[in-house]
Amino acid sequence: MPTITDPPDIEGLVAERMFALSGRHFISVASLNRPEAERLLDLADAFVSLSRAREKKLSLLRGRTLVNLFFESSTRTQSSFEIAAKRLGADTMNMSPGTSSVKKGETLIDTAVTLNAMKPDLLVVRHSASGAAALLSQKVGCSVINAGDGWHEHPTQALLDALTLRRAFGSVEGLVVAICGDVLHSRVARSNVGLLQLLGARVRLVGPPTLMPAGADQWGAEVFHDMRAGIAGVDVVMMLRLQLERMDGAFVPSTREYFRFFGLDAEKLSLAKPHVRVMHPGPMNRGVEIDSGVADDLDVSLIQQQVEMGVAARMAVLASLAARLDSPSLSNGVA
């Protein structure tokens, strides 16, 4: 274990594991292959050690500028990216629609093109529309990192979840993971289905039929509408936030009925494997999708670890994208 007295070991470890991501952007887990996903996790692991050390700062991104462009507000994801970038030595700037001209009718593209002219190297974007990050990536010269686009994907969340699981279980391969709740509106679910399956896990999707996307049974996952059956014998229960703010129709009759059938409590959890661990991307609706007793049980809950791993996973993405920018053979010089 590295200690606060030997920071050079961490730098060495990081240098050893550093690699350049093959894609210019990080928009969907679908762009990863398994070796690349494992390398990202290895690199992120090294950054976990760094984050626990006294001296947390590296200079891998020195001189690079990262812009957080958040059209939807998110305290935790935005600060996670900001800390990740700062620990790597980048300059960061946060933009949110409330303080920009987006409200004055400027389009997503206009905003991006304006930002692009200021020559950032990395653009982290969150937007309420599926496909927004992909659209931006076609119009700017910098690397675009998807921090959540509508219901589509949230790939760094999947990466941090995989990192959390790998550290808790040693490997993701062979784990049975039940993703439970509002799958329909969840970008976290879509990214996790892709990445966990890539890493060799078996994925189940659990939720009421009204919150399950059409064709989810064709994603390679098993679909359950009975939560007890869905979490029976699983290694991991990954709860999703019931997206109250996105409910434009009556998808479920009431929150208390939802909790009764799809909320995670100790009684339902007892059907899973004895060593079961519980995850949640946050922020939690306690008493709606998850019981406080389960969420706060440190023997079971990985929720705090997820937040810590978030910084490390994002550092790995930023560093490997920047390494690509540094590599003349890979960088295609689009300005």
Binding site: L108, S130, K139, D149, A214, G215
Partner: protein, 436 residues
Amino acid sequence: MADVARPTAYLNARLVDPDSGYDGPGALIVAEGAIADVAHSPRIENLSADVAIVDCAGAALVPGLIDIRVKTGEPGAEPKETLKSASRAAAAGGVASIVIQPDTDPAVDEPAVLDFILRRARDIELVHVHAAGAATRGLKGVNMAELGLMAEAGALYFTDVDQPLADSKVFRRVLSYARAFGRPVAHRPADPYLSAGAVATEGELAGRLGLSSAPAVAERIMLERDLTLAQLTGARLIVDQITTAGALESLARAKALGTDVIATASINHLSFNEVDIGDYRTFCRLDPPLRAEADRQALIEAVASGLVKVITSAHTPAPAEDKRLPFSEAAAGAVGLETLLPALLTLHHDGRCPLIDLIRTVTLAPAELLGLPGGRLRRGAPADLALCDLDAPVVIDAAKLLSKSKNSPFDGRRLQGRVLATVVDGRTIYRADRAG
């Protein structure tokens, strides 16, 4: 060459005329804006010296196309498309007659706006411009528009275009009232509750992309209502842009019962399927949304069997700023006047439908539906003609379209078939340059 004053002979052509059922070598003479003679042989003997000669060199001569679903931005959104730019685009596509949709700003829900459009179009002197009137005031689906006055002013049919007529009582009244004036009513069937907010067809793809979607049955559910009300009122119903196999089944059953119904298909739904939205390609964001491949195949079958009688371009101009947005925020629709014919010919080249039957869907069938004199190569009919090389390979370049808006899903597609010239009332209003 073909000025109005001088008679013109089009020799050595392949005449394709759905009216007579003739597809073969032929020639015709145009005089005073009308077809003066038709011969089923490549030459016409003993032409008088003052007749101008056009050697068609074996190219196909078909009736000028009639496109009954064309949107422009005039009045109200001229930067998208004007009557003039739409007319030019039509001319370049071999389209001799267009029917303007009433969802302008202000809407065509009273005779003055209709009159404005028809008068503007007359001054342009390119293609024949007709107009449809709104079914309800402001296309709001609540109060009936002035159907009778608009019929008198020339409205060919009534429609609220993309707005669903959700209130069955209102729709029933529109149908029966329009019937008294001898005009059909068009409605695009989509259950308004199931389709609210949807930008794609429900299925694995839309689920994976995280797009709000409506099940394909939303179309059939509303169509069943529309067909039932058409039977009740005896009105003539135009099913606007049928797209799904399920709705086609309902249509076939209603037709077997003798319901007075004509279905149209848009060229887009015959040419693309839901997979074409791929990575959020907004040029393929359409309304109704693109369907599964099985639906597209069923639609092609329905055109071949004659169940679907009319094909339209569903020309819907949307400028770049309305399309360069996230998929769910982008405007729906595609321009199509200039690509209608080559895209249609794909079904001929693929052996899916005989050429003459395809040509019928964009000429004689819409002419008969709306009581227009064109769409036929018959003596006395207006000399509206499209001369085209059926086999010429073309690569569609949206930037080169004459439409003010360039939102073509066919951009970059390789098609076969090129319009060489378009003639309206005997005047050559478009001629392809040789290089192009």
